[in-house]
Symmetry: C2
Subunit: 193 residues, 2 copies
DNA sequence: TTCATTACTTAACTTAAGTGAACCAGATAC
DNA sequence: GTATCTGGTTCACTTAAGTTAAGTAATGAA
């Protein structure tokens, strides 16, 4: 599990054994049970998450309905909005599967980053990369129909369609569960003809 | 114009006069005429933009049609995907109005950041903030209907609706220009009744 | 001035998503 | 065993967006 982390970090910066040991001494790794709610609406949190194994999900409750907007799986990093702005959270984060997460505290991160400027540089590279990647995702969403979005997801994250309930997938695609069912039936019908 | 920049930077870090002078010596400020294309699809670029005055726009050409996905106005920063990943650009960037932009080269940025670690920290803070903000925008888009999106835009960026052509606004909202016209007529009708 | 182009609107028709209800497993509780 | 709950599909109906085409107003070029 630690090697997964170090391999990931190695894509950005190189760590000495000492630096690795500092990281390991921090007690960052946490197993989390399916269904656990990591963050609730209205809470202030200082925690960031990095998924080593499993899947976590961001959702809103709007008009009494759950609206899922994001899934984070292996090697995905999430710093909630409320951590960055120090405001109460607008959304919930819950655990879709039994998972192993790296959970870091913002205060801790500040301390580490000031001791090891390398980490700050890595954080900058990572945020810039995520910002650009998310931009592309957003653009694809905007310029696609629900059906295209589904087909696109089938290409890019086929695992999600298996491991996540349909009604959560539907709102992730910006539609209702009934529409997702219908849309899938339509695609199968097309493939036949 | 320079003060606009320094006031912006002051929200993140404090600069000495020397540091300010280094920035000013770099010839970053550029007036850009309306209609200028700053980046074309397929190009590799190393340039980031910061809008001091005016408006620039990101758009794709998909199935022969322009699809506008973003507008950057006063105090917005944009580092294109192709700069981060050093790949050919998927999209175009053009200038909606006569504008004054701060244009910085990635190589130059790397040099400055290594000389002044402060800048690196500011870049990290800025990317994290933008990442979280964009996440919220994306979430709002996903969980709203076109009509709600339009009303939301009317609240948050009323200026955009005035300064940008309708057909560009439409694709920004994820719909066709005809639908935007209809949707606006519908809203006016509702307000009356 | 005239002609062409462009941006925007309107309308009729098509297609697909939203809505509400019924239905059908599969899982859990009693 | 039956009852219940949940997640998913299907159906009939409504609503809104896509499509195609036409019309209007403003802009710019010949």
């Amino acid at each position: 599990m630690q090697n997964i982390l170090f391999d990931f970090i190695a894509k950005y910066i190189s760590l000495t054994e000492d630096e690795k040991n500092v990281l390991l001494s921090l007690d960052l790794f946490h197993p989390v049970k399916k269904g656990t709610i990591l963050l609730k609406k209205g809470q202030k949190s200082r925690e960031s998450y990095f998924v080593l194994k499993g899947c976590i999900r961001v959702y809103y409750i709007k008009d009494g309905e759950e609206k899922t907007t994001a899934f984070y799986t292996e090697l995905d990093a999430l710093t909630p909005h409320c951590v960055v702005n120090n405001t109460p959270s607008d959304y919930f984060i819950s655990c879709v599967e039994d998972s192993i997460l790296l959970i870091s505290n913002a205060d801790m991160t500040v301390e580490i980053n000031s001791k090891f400027p390398k980490f700050d540089i890595m954080c900058r590279m990572l945020s810039e990369e995520l910002l650009a990647k998310q931009r592309i995702d957003f653009d694809e969403f905007k310029t696609s129909s629900p059906e295209q979005r589904y087909l696109n997801l089938l290409q890019k994250r086929p695992d999600l369609i298996q491991r996540v309930p349909q009604h959560q997938l539907a709102s992730y695609l910006g539609i209702k569960p009934q529409s997702l069912s219908r849309l899938r039936a339509r695609i199968i019908e097309k493939d036949k003809g």
